[in-house]
Amino acid sequence: MYLTEPRLTDIVKKQFLYKLNAYTGVFSSLLIMQLIGLFFGFNTGGGSSGSESLTINWRSLSGDMAVIFTLFWAFSTGILITTLAYRNDAFSFVSTRLSHHVSSFLFLLVMSCIAGITAPLASSVIKLISLFQHNAVFIETSGLFASPVDFFIRIATAVIYTILFAGFGYVIGSLIQLSKLVIPFLVIGLFILPLFNISGTGFIEYMVIFFGFETSLLIFLVKVLITVLVLFAISVAITNKTEVRK
């Protein structure tokens, strides 16, 4: 019996604001990952071709690496905030496992939105530097002024993919917290077995087809939302028996 019964929404709100304020390392790691992505974006490809009297040197730059590194960041952040240190921080407040999960989920959602917006913008830096070069530049993707709808669709796609990767990271992090033995199984199951084309092990391939081949943004959004909710539910279920604080 207590004088004041804290409501879940209040606890979640408090924890969410605390996490947003305390987990500044997530911001710096995002910045570093996108800068690494930008660096690799300058080395996407290139070559030389020609004849005795004509040589053509070409270089391809793309925004892919900034996005790929952002997705890796989302995945690793999802794992990191399930670790013991982060979990202990969250229980500095009066809280429950559910409020911890919900606030972490909201934190990941907000961070994914920020990362998803900055990832396509990061490639503008590559584009800008390429325009300052002396040689001819082909800009193969229309920009904000030329095609604003496509520009915002790219940002929306980046945000949704980042949420998805953060969700996968979160559930894997929860599994790891359950038992460290999960790590070798995950590495073997996700990365080693598919290399040997063993049937039924192409989980990544299936995911690529399920999400990557979708042509409707709306259906894609629904697929990702359902997947993330399922992943979240799995995380809540598997960490239900873990200690609140070690």
């Binding site: 004509l54 040589t55 391809s60 913008l121």
Partner: protein
């Protein structure tokens, strides 16, 4: 990027993460101040926004002076017109020079490079003059016209002999940029294969109107396109 590096990339990223998670907890020697983290991140975001806007302005500026579009069809049209001797159909901007040379009974062709494109059309009379029309070299990369950047040398005429020298060397460098392929999944303009897609190129074309009965002597391996209208 090398494909093997791309395949290994997940391992290279995931393994350090796992090692990081598994590491024994030690107090960090250096941590960035919270305020500075936000300052850095806000500056980074501002730079990105500024870059995005500047690129758009540059893009617009470039759009006023884009690469001249030159399709494969345009190229084929010119080549077809040359083979048919229909020079009037070709855009006059393709002509770099028109010259006339007096000639005797025989024209000797000497070439140091075995494939200049030479067309010869016989006149209906023997007027003792060769009318030479030179067409500029063509270099089209990804349907953009780079022809003006190709170096060339005009044929050298001396008496009854014309010499096609080796064309001077041309080196061209270009950059191709595309936004993330992954993010083009739902865009109205689908992402296409980018970089160095296609090239059409040739050196200058020499089109000669020669007297009806002129004897032409050239190396056996020298290819002459005779135009019969």
């Amino acid at each position: 990027m090398n494909l093997s590096i791309l395949i290994l990339l997940p391992f290279l990223i995931v393994i350090p993460i796992i090692v990081y998670i598994m590491r024994p907890k030690k107090p960090s020697k250096w941590t960035m101040n919270k305020k500075w983290t936000y300052v850095f991140f806000a500056t980074y975001t501002a730079v990105l926004l500024l870059a995005a806007l500047t690129v758009e302005l540059f893009d617009k500026k470039l759009a006023t002076k884009p690469f001249n579009h030159f399709s494969t069809e345009d190229f084929k049209f010119i080549e077809s017109a040359l083979h048919l001797g229909n020079l009037s159909a070709i855009d006059p901007s393709q002509v770099i020079d028109k010259r006339t040379h007096d000639v005797g009974d025989t024209l000797h062709i000497k070439s140091y490079d075995n494939n200049p494109l030479v067309f010869i059309e016989r006149k209906s009379e023997n007027d003792g003059w060769i009318e030479e029309t030179l067409f500029k070299p063509i270099l089209i990369i990804n349907e953009a016209d780079f022809s003006d950047q190709v170096n060339y040398t005009k044929p050298e005429w001396e008496g009854d002999t014309v010499t096609f020298p080796v064309p001077p060397f041309t080196e061209l460098t270009f950059t191709s940029y595309q936004d993330s392929l992954l993010l083009g999944q739902f865009t109205r303009q689908p992402p296409k294969e980018f970089g160095y897609r296609e090239r059409q190129s040739r050196q200058i074309v020499i089109y000669l109107h020669v007297p009806k009965d002129l004897i032409i002597k050239a190396n056996e391996d020298f290819d002459i396109n005779y135009v019969n209208k």
